[in-house]
């Protein structure tokens, strides 16, 4: 049984005041296996962050409709948390709060705005220790210092007393990671954790995440638009388009044989140093706004090179045109792929 099994997840923002509702996530299904790194990849607006927030129960209560299920294997229970599998979407706010931070944790995109500027780092770390592990006072501070040390923040005891603005960008993200792993969660969701950072710092943060996942056996759900991050970190990749998973495969398989025209186009659009001089870039034409609703056909059809009438005959089903663990949602999968082998 997978650690997290998301099935037909939908999130709709009600419009109100005469505006039509927006379906940000439109039937997303994927699985996260324990102790592995799973990627959720897609361009801006494809619903990846909303998926993460829905799993965390952090979407606003009013004006948002959720559907489908997301079953998490909580593992051993505790004083607060019942054991066994639970549906995250079916839990009440209290039960969800008990899981948040202890069984599932999340790292956000912008480390500066994600830390409270007027609260010392130490307090922001110890409050989660107090909430889920009952640690207070000196033991909590000791544990917090150990956590900062583990995520590679030098001189942790001094840093505990400092405020976010006194830390560098990389250091802030490390502090946020320390908070996220403070209670050894079973699932860690990272929503573009490196987008706001310098390239050198990005590599360090990814390295740190990898280490933590390996040591703790924590599963990592990596949400990103950066194919470099996917190539470096994710073992299983789900490509999201317009709120639905269009391709799901292992990393090597996906990079070697991108089969959905969108994934194919994505990989083809990466500029290559060994391409001949004067070779033009190959962007996917149009934007994510050029789409049709999934129930009318393939949302990607308006931008697709392989588009024909058949694409508009209802939503395409997930098929396995190449091998059993490589699922593609397309009626015209790119099978004769001569796409340049991208070494993962």
């Amino acid at each position: 049984m997978p650690l997290l099994s998301v099935d037909d997840l939908t999130v709709t923002f009600r419009g109100g005041h005469g505006r039509p509702p927006t379906r940000a996530v439109d039937g997303v299904s994927f699985q996260v296996d324990a102790g592995r790194v799973t990627g959720l990849v897609g361009e801006s607006g494809c619903g990846k962050s909303v998926t993460a927030l829905a799993l965390m129960g952090l979407l606003p209560g009013k004006g948002v409709d959720r559907g489908g299920s997301a079953v998490l294997d909580v593992g051993a229970g505790s004083e607060f948390v019942a054991s066994g599998p639970v549906d995250l979407l079916g839990l009440g706010p209290g039960a969800l709060r008990d899981l948040r931070g202890s069984r599932i944790a999340m790292i956000f995109q912008d480390p500066l705005s994600s830390l409270n500027p007027v609260v010392p780092i130490g307090v922001q770390v110890t409050e989660i220790l107090e909430r889920h592990r009952g640690l207070r006072g000196a033991p909590a501070r000791k544990e917090a210092a150990d956590l900062l040390d583990r995520v590679g923040i030098p001189d942790p005891t001094r840093r505990l007393k400092e405020y976010p603005h006194q830390l560098s960008g990389g250091m802030r993200q490390r502090a946020l990671i320390a908070m996220a792993v403070a209670c050894a969660p079973r699932l860690l969701i990272a929503d573009e954790p490196t987008t706001a950072l310098d390239v050198t710092i990005q590599a360090q943060i990814l390295e740190l995440l990898k280490e933590l996942v390996d040591q703790e056996g924590t599963a990592l759900l990596m949400i990103t638009h950066d194919l470099g991050v996917v190539a470096g970190l994710c073992e299983q990749v789900n490509v999201l388009y317009a709120g639905r998973v269009v391709e799901s495969a292992g990393r090597r398989e996906l990079f070697a044989h991108p089969t959905h025209p969108y994934a194919h186009g994505l990989l083809g659009s990466i500029p290559r140093l060994d391409a001949p001089r004067g070779d033009p870039l190959h962007p996917i034409r149009g934007s994510i706004n050029d789409r049709i609703a999934w129930q009318d056909g393939c949302a990607f059809a308006p931008r697709c090179d392989f588009y024909d009438e058949e694409c508009l005959e209802g939503p395409p089903a997930l098929t396995e045109p190449r091998r059993p663990d490589h699922r593609v949602r397309c009626v015209h999968p790119v099978l004769d792929t001569t796409a340049e082998e991208v070494t993962a």
């Binding site: 952090l58 931070g101 956000f108």
Partner: protein, 323 residues
């Protein structure tokens, strides 16, 4: 910085206050002499009070008096004004400073109690309004808040007096009882003035808090706090309110300082002999030394409160400390 402002204020008071009404030095002296002014007595008064001296010398004497006290040759006997001499009223023949110190407890009691009441109620209402944004509670409290901001104290205060001393007499009369005499009576008599003042101010603070909370509660770090599984009450107080506090503290420093200088209207409405009432009386009687003394004291309170605000800033917003 503090000293600089106080000196500037002293200077301004010294030069401006005696000129209000466009009086010349002679007219001023005539006032001090009283009914039977003749050129000789006026000249004598001018000389004795130093009014014939250059302005800077007069200013020096004025400041010197505050520090070491002064003797005035007035009438047959010299009068002594002990340090800190904030002036000597030649009309009522009293030193101004003891009069002020006698009235400070009244003003202070009024200000402190009202401030506690309006801070607590204003911030609480503001927080609840922000959290229940758009709900009945929000709309109702914001409407009441608007009423509070709009209604002047001489309306709400008088209405309160009318309702609770004659219509439903909870109080027979309202008069100031010193805290040292009877804390219970002190608080009981001050309750209505506090409430009327707090109604006016808490409205402002409720709106201010609501605006601040709406802003901070949509910040990313609130999401982080929720992602940690913290209880909503903790998220609101520890992360939301904490960050929304800065503008509230700013305004509070100003308001509280102003109030320590005398809540003129409130004191009049409830017939309290505080600093404000004293100032009004002095202005009415053109008793310049008193006006100057009270103004100086009030200015000092405002400057002092703003200093405290700056210190509190550093405590609640660490970014201020280093920049």
């Amino acid at each position: 910085m503090l000293l600089l402002v106080v000196s500037a204020v002293t200077f301004a008071i010294f030069f401006l206050v005696p000129r209000i009404g466009g009086q010349t030095v002679d007219q001023l002296a005539v006032q001090y002499v009283g009914k039977d002014a003749n050129p000789e007595s006026v000249a004598a008064v001018k000389k004795n009070l130093g009014l014939d001296q250059p302005l800077l010398v007069q200013y020096y004497d004025f400041v010197k008096a505050i520090v070491v006290g002064a003797n005035y040759q007035f009438g047959p006997d010299p009068v002594t004004c002990n340090a800190p001499c904030f002036g000597y009223s030649f009309k009522t023949h009293v030193e101004v400073w003891p009069e002020i110190t006698q009235r400070i407890p009244v003003t202070l009691s009024l200000a402190v109690g009202a401030a506690v009441l309006w801070l607590v109620s204003g911030v609480t209402i503001g927080v609840i309004s922000a959290l229940k944004r758009g709900s009945i509670v929000d709309r109702l409290s914001m409407t009441v808040a608007l009423l509070g901001v709009s209604l002047p104290i001489f309306f709400t205060g008088l209405l309160g007096l009318a309702l609770f001393t004659s219509q439903w007499p909870i109080w027979d009369t309202i008069e100031f009882v010193p805290f040292s005499e009877s804390p219970g009576e002190w608080a009981w008599n001050l309750l209505l003035p506090w409430a009327s003042l707090a109604f006016l101010y808490s409205a402002l603070y409720a709106r201010l808090t609501r605006a601040g909370m709406l802003e901070t509660m949509s910040e990313d770090y609130i999401r982080t706090a929720r992602a940690k599984g913290l209880r909503e009450s903790k998220v609101v107080t520890k992360h939301g309110l904490r960050a929304a506090l800065t503008p509230i503290v700013t305004i509070f420093g100003m308001d509280f300082g102003l109030m320590l200088g005398g809540a003129v209207l409130t004191e009049s409405v409830f017939s309290f002999q505080g600093m404000g009432a004293y100032a009004v009386q002095a202005v009415r009687e053109s008793d310049l030394p008193i006006v100057m003394g009270v103004t100086l004291t009030a200015a000092f309170f405002i400057v002092f409160c703003n200093l405290i605000v700056d210190l509190v800033y550093a405590a609640i917003d660490p970014r201020v400390r280093y920049s």
